[in-house]
């Protein structure tokens, strides 16, 4: 049976993208040492996809020629030449519809997915154990077989109790020897033969810590099988805390402490979870109580100090500046101050003074803003900032004060599922004296939606719309972007990106406003962190861009490069030096650009000092 309409519709696009993604997936599987289907198949599929693309391009080109010829031959009988409109519209509709359908499936999945019972108690686990051993075996058996065994185990039917025992011995030996892969296979084989084996369940969960979804299922299963063992609750709580489900993690720790009062791992794990949940005040209380009875616990002392630093008020002086290819230079001085934050909400204030010049004209800007950041749950972060920017009198314009601010909400499925980032902001564009003089203000709303489609592979859709108001005009800028990102390792991500930016009209306010900008880039994001919290992050992008001026056709492709780098150096407890470098050789991507060849670099150095 062939379902759907082969070749046409979004199915064609889906399989084309699937084929083009095979080299990325293959490389990822090889890097991670996982079983793969081999490069031969990947090359064959990629070649087919490449040939299809070439064929579609050639068809569009030929159709364009044919339509042009028909217009010349029969000018009265034919309609206007659609040019590149037909393939472009078809492509946009297909990709947009495909993204919508895939996103809809993911949303539906999240909606349908059954959430774990949040109020699970030990008594309930006892009843679950009775259930597990009795009448509801049929429900748990498919869970074990489905979630774990299918991927690893020998055929269930071929297993028996004797097999389980022999597998368990081999599994424990492999586990002791540090052979995680063999141990996982053997433990899975044990569960295939004996799904009620709690030891194998626990060990397998430990071996799958890198996969929190599976690890959590197995630890929950272990808790159901061994409800009187506090370590099961602690292990489940640790996974829950790691995935940002702090409330549930704390309940598991409470259960563990009821079974084993005073158990260090439960006490300290609970305190760590409180600290992660930004309930640092409560975490400090727990740490201090523990140290009162265990004053020599050096690790807890360190964690207490870190929690105190995180909760303490802090100041962050900063200095920064930028320079662009037009000779515009900015110098920024200022700082931020944060109040003490024993809970999940942190409040502060930020003030900066900026001097913008181009060698002839200089303009000063002062910015003052109140800030608040909250983390209502492990999955949701909200940041708000409100204030004003004062622009000095320059030329014929007097001093102006413009309300500015931003609101940002980020949500990420704690189990590695989809993520949403919503942002609204209003700010003064201050990259050149001309922009500042013309009082160019950007008011923008935007969203980023990220959907995981396969192991390590994520699709991101980005949409933004901005109104750019100035002393002369109001312009509108719309941005759409699609990103396919592959996490090669937990700290390295490579991506392919396509951006399209449109301005509704030209502008004489001092920024470059072409009709259309198209950017295609390959990018990589690398984030390295040492045991001493030294952080090094790079976001590199290289590709091509082309620009269509207002009323003109698209120009030729030229290079597009960008770089963002962050270095964070912990100097002492509570003191961190941060250096940020931002460079762009695809200036049309920002409102600050003045031409299509605009280049830009900016730096900022800040020192965060937690006050005693």
């Amino acid at each position: 049976m062939a379902a759907g309409l082969p070749g046409t519709g979004i199915g064609g696009m889906f399989y084309l993208i699937s084929a083009l993604a095979t080299p990325l997936r293959e490389g990822y599987l090889r890097l991670r040492g996982r079983k793969s289907r081999g490069w031969r198949l990947v090359v064959a599929l990629t070649a087919i996809a490449g040939s299809i693309l070439a064929g579609l391009w050639a068809t569009s080109w030929l159709l364009g020629l044919a339509l042009s010829a028909s217009r010349r031959l029969l000018p009265a009988a034919t309609t206007p030449h659609p040019g590149n409109l037909l393939p472009a519209v078809a492509l946009l509709i297909s990709v947009g519809t495909l993204a919508g359908v895939l996103l809809g499936v993911e949303v539906l999945r999240l909606w349908v997915r059954r959430r774990p019972h949040p109020e699970a108690t030990i008594d309930e686990y006892k009843s679950r154990r009775a259930v597990a051993a009795g009448e509801r075996r049929s429900r748990i058996l498919p869970f074990v077989l489905g979630a774990v065994v299918a991927a690893y185990a020998r055929p269930a039917a071929a297993q028996g109790a004797t097999h389980a025992t022999s597998h368990l011995g081999r599994a424990d030996s492999a586990y002791t020897a540090g052979d995680a892969r063999a141990a996982a296979q053997e433990y899975a084989a044990v569960l295939a033969a004996d799904p009620w084996n709690s030891h194998a369940t626990y060990r397998l969960a430990q071996l799958h810590r890198h996969d929190p979804r599976l690890a959590l299922r197995l630890f929950r299963r272990y808790v159901a099988l061994e409800p009187s063992d506090p370590w099961g609750y602690m292990a489940a709580a640790e996974v829950l805390a790691r995935t940002g489900r702090y409330g549930e993690a704390l309940r598991y720790y409470d259960d563990a402490l009821r079974l084993a009062p005073g158990e260090r791992d439960a006490v300290v794990g609970r305190a760590r979870t409180l600290a992660r949940a930004r309930r640092t005040g409560a975490a400090i209380v727990v740490y201090e109580r523990w140290l009162a009875s265990h004053p020599t616990d050096a690790e807890v002392k360190r964690e207490l100090a870190a929690a105190q630093v995180a909760a303490a008020p802090a100041i962050t002086p900063l200095v920064g500046g930028s320079h662009d290819s037009d000779g515009n230079t900015t110098l920024r001085l200022g700082g931020a101050a944060e109040l003490a934050a024993p809970g999940p909400v942190r409040v502060g204030v930020r003030a900066t003074r900026e001097q913008v010049g181009d060698g002839v004209t200089h303009v000063g800007l002062d910015e003052l803003a109140l800030r608040a950041a909250a983390r209502p749950s492990g999955a949701l972060q909200i940041e708000a900032e409100g204030g004003a920017t004062r622009v000095d009198a320059v030329g014929g314009a007097g001093v102006t004060i413009t309300p500015t601010g931003q609101l940002r909400a980020r949500w990420r499925d704690p189990m590695g599922g989809p993520a949403v980032d919503l942002r609204a902001r209003r700010n003064v564009i201050d990259a050149s004296p001309l922009l500042a003089t013309n009082r160019v203000v950007r008011t923008e709303i935007g969203a980023i939606i990220e959907v995981p489609v396969a192991s390590g592979l994520k699709l991101r859709g980005i949409g933004r719309t901005a109104a750019l108001s100035s002393a002369f005009d109001v312009n509108h800028r719309t941005t759409f972007a699609g990103v396919a990102a592959l996490a090669v390792t937990p700290s390295v991500e490579v991506s392919g990106q396509v951006h399209e930016i449109r301005y509704s009209r030209p502008s004489s306010a001092g920024y470059f406003a072409p009709r259309l900008i198209q950017i295609a880039q390959v990018a990589s994001y690398i984030e390295l962190e040492t045991a001493r919290s030294f952080v090094l992050a790079f976001d590199l992008g290289a590709g091509v861009q082309r620009v269509a001026q207002q009323g003109a056709a698209l120009g030729p492709w030229r290079r597009a490069l960008r770089l963002y780098s962050l270095v964070a150096v912990p100097l002492a407890p509570g003191r961190e030096l941060r250096f940020e470098l931002d460079g762009d050789d695809s200036g049309v991507a920002t409102e600050s650009a003045t031409t299509a060849q605009w280049r830009y670099v900016s730096m900022q150095l800040s020192l965060r000092v937690a006050l005693p």
Binding site: L5, G9, R37, V453
Partner: protein, 365 residues
Amino acid sequence: MSSSVARLKHRWSRDRTAPVLRPVAGVDVTVIIPAYNEAASVVDTIKSLQGQTMPPAAIIVVDDCSTDGTGDVARVLGVVVVRPPTNTGSKAGAQNFGLRYVRTPLTVAVDADTILARDALESLLPAFHDPGVAAACGFVLPQRVRSVWERGRYIEYLFAFTYYKRLQEYYGKPLISSGCFSMYRTDILRAHNGWSNRTLAEDVDLTWSLYQAGHAVRFVPEAVCYPIEPRTLTLMGTQLRRWSHGFVQNVRLHWRGLLAVPYLRSAVAVAFWDATIAATVYLVLLPVLALLLARPWILIGYVIDAPAVIVPVLAGAARRREIRRAIASIPAFFVLRTVNAVFFLRAVCAELLLGRSLRVYEKGH
């Protein structure tokens, strides 16, 4: 109990005590051939199985109360023929009847109008070295390529099995383990109660059930089979009606469970979207827009994706050295695709909007 069943049981009982007397000296595979009035084609099917490089241990023809002597024809060739007391009413029913007599760890389902390449069984077997694999299927191509419909189907299969199915295999989720030729682990098949007749596409139902139970399914392109495809529009319509209703019934039945299966959920969603929305665009929107807007170039939409079809087809045909046949058949594909769209749209309307679910299993040829 019919004499055939008694004879089969007798054979199996001897089997257990004296392995040398197994019905066929072959690999631990039993082939089930459900057959209803297939006297004209079942002989070729059986002969192709007996001529395998690794012949099966047993071949069971389920004569589903045929009236054309199918059972007798099969019996002459020395295979086991079993006959249910009454017609089971569906292919799934006949296959389940045959499953009762399977004693090997692997079971193969082959349609009575399908012949296999000589090494088809041998090619499928290595897939089961992976203990997680519950089913495997092969490459399907029409046995005869003469009429427009057979040619259209030839291109459709070349396209789907060269491109889509290999991609699905790469991502570990072949959409369907084809009902005309698939191999299964017998214990898992039995655990799922065999083939279900709750939908008209028992192969889709079984494949998706296996995925939801955590099992793997493989596509092995080297294992080739050749079914007889409908040669007339009437027969094609019967088959398409069954397939389209079966697909919609399975989406309705499994959608919740499929959401937990990565890649497959996306593949099914886009297939379902194309079967409904794309079919509407294809059949209604394109011509209406072209007429209303007086823009005839909109009709280019019917063929603008031709390269997306032709490239994989030629790649598949080149490997089989059938380029000329493929090129000559490509126009028929576009005809079949249009007919396909009509049937899928009707099935969606009937099953989901009007609540008229098709329940009667009709043979397609």
